[in-house]
Amino acid sequence: MQYILFLLRRAAHSILVLLGLSIIIFIISRVMPGDPARMALGPYATQEQVAALRQEMGLDLPLWTQYVRYMSNLVQGQFGKSLISERDVRLDLAHHLPATLELIMMTMFWVVVIGIPLGALSAVKKDTAFDNLTRGFSFTAVVIPGFLVGIGFQLLFGYWLDWFPITGRLSPGTVVTQKITGLYLIDALILRDWHLFFDALKHILLPSLALSMAGIGQVIRITRSSMLEIETQDHVQVVRSYGVPNLLVTFKYILKPAFIPTLNILGLLSASLLGNAFLVESVFSWPGVAKYGVNAMLQKDINGLVGVVLLIGLGFLLANLIVDMIIGLLDPRIRLKGEAE
């Protein structure tokens, strides 16, 4: 009960944040200097064309009316027409979303399966060569910008070693017989199309690894440090003093409480991950939402951009909601009391 209340409160908070975000975006897109209609049409359009578009976009109405229209459209999920593709932005986003989703999920997968074990092992083997190596790796991974990692991977594994393709989601010859989720890896598993599966895997490997580096580094760092901190706490000393096997102490009594800060970091991390996706998708010509956003930006497509930005904000909030949910399951104080001590 308390747990549901806690989740509801977090969800309500997310909705408020989303509302605030939409207001900020509205202000940026409508109030700041410059005429969106003129921008959309470019300097060579006639005055009449601009005026017509202004009317169509509702730019001649009073500001608050514009806001009401904008908001009611948003609530219905209407972002308007993309000024480039001339299609409903919703359709464009839906078209590009699966690619990004697949990339992000793959990235999160790496972050969790590489970051947490390395961090935990590094804490257990504190001050050994392995620990020093891991720490060096995590420092480097955090510090190097994702798009440079991407270019480095392209050079090394693509051009020089020629192990992996460097652009796109699939090789030219590969076809997707049936779109189910749009996530090729999952579709391939459902269809048992192994050729598709391995082709998609080969393509996603480099971009997802490039995108995950910073996250892996962060997760190693935080897992290691929170495990070392919990290691020194009384309750760990107590179970240790009673002769409970070391492995159990480490992987039960230390790791579980150490997960909580790690998860919090993962939630916050999702923002920078989504941000880096802009660059990594560009580097690997990955046909995702971020790539679409960059194009929209370069072509001054306001509607497209608003859609992308709101979608990213929504993604961030959803990620954090999921994190809160898992933390609630791990931490009885949240589950039963609705708050941490």
Binding site: I28, P145, L155, L268, G275, N276, A296, L305, V309
Partner: protein
């Protein structure tokens, strides 16, 4: 005698800082890059290559003693342009943090100390801003306002303050119940005194470390922006733009990408190492 105390203290700090070899490297790298960048017109071999310049006899030259980092598609010296490229990065980091840090620190102090609706307002605002990746925000603003260096910097500063507001707010909330703060309150010290003299000095080390780390972060971001073609306009050199341009000529003319990329990395690593050293000296857990 006081001076001797000061020197002893400095020596102590230096000892702790120099325990970690990487932090010394970081300090040297950072200072060198800043100096070289300021003196760029005098220390680079071809300062004229920083602007509009073409030399079609010397295009795509691999690294040599004349052009350490090789030349680009119009024959400009990549070493020279990399050094000039630092200007963009450093100006960006300086301006963004120069606006964001004081703003964030003051708002964090105010919200943490006064609480109530001011706190709710500022903290909710940070929640909203933090839901957007800085890069996305910068992209959105640049798209609307035109990709101009000034606009991009303003956009970034407008998001970046939130991190400092959060950091300082958290520290103030825990510090404002410290007994020395209450003691000052009982003595009738002004709110300004308590915020800026009692509380702020205790937050300063963390702010300093975070600023150093964020300098690297802003530089990374500015490289990312210019990589996407935002921020600075050609022919003005920016490291990110150079990486992007070079990527078109991969893998044959690898030096066009690799050297500007390394230039970015060297500065970012330098700043991070420096921050690590400061963290040890100032005993900050960030």
């Amino acid at each position: 005698m006081k001076f001797a105390d000061f020197r002893r203290k400095l020596a102590q700090y230096w000892y702790r800082f120099s325990q970690n070899k990487a932090s010394i490297a970081g300090l040297i790298i950072t200072v060198t890059i800043v100096l070289v960048t300021i003196l760029a017109p005098y220390v680079t071999p071809y300062p004229e290559h920083a602007g509009v310049f073409v030399d079609f006899r010397n295009t795509f030259k691999p690294p040599s003693s004349a052009n350490w980092f090789g030349t680009d598609q119009v024959g400009r010296d990549i070493f020279t342009r990399s050094i000039f490229g630092y200007r963009f990065s450093l100006i960006m980091a300086g301006t963004v943090l120069g606006i964001a840090v004081p703003l964030g620190v003051v708002l964090g102090l105010v919200s943490g100390y006064f609480g109530g609706w001011i706190e709710s307002l500022i903290m909710r605002l940070t929640d909203i801003v933090l839901a957007l990746p800085p890069l996305a925000m910068a992209i959105a603003v640049s798209a609307v306002l035109g990709s101009d260096l000034g606009n991009t910097m303003i956009a970034l500063a407008m998001i970046w303050w939130t991190w400092y507001a959060r950091l300082v707010h958290g520290m103030v909330v825990s510090l404002r119940n410290e007994e020395y703060v209450e003691a000052a309150q009982i003595m009738g010290a002004s709110k300004l005194h308590i915020m800026f003299r009692e509380i702020l000095p205790n937050c300063a080390p963390a702010i300093l470390v975070k600023t150093t780390l964020d300098a690297a972060f802003v530089i990374e971001l500015s490289a990312g922006l210019s990589f996407l073609g935002l921020g600075v306009r050609p022919p003005e050199p920016a490291l990110g733009t150079m990486v992007a341009e070079g990527a078109r000529y991969l893998p044959a003319n690898w030096w066009m990408t690799v050297f500007p990329a390394l230039a970015i990395l060297v500065l970012i690593f330098g700043l991070n190492w420096l921050a690590d050293g400061l963290r040890d000296v100032l005993d900050v857990d960030l």
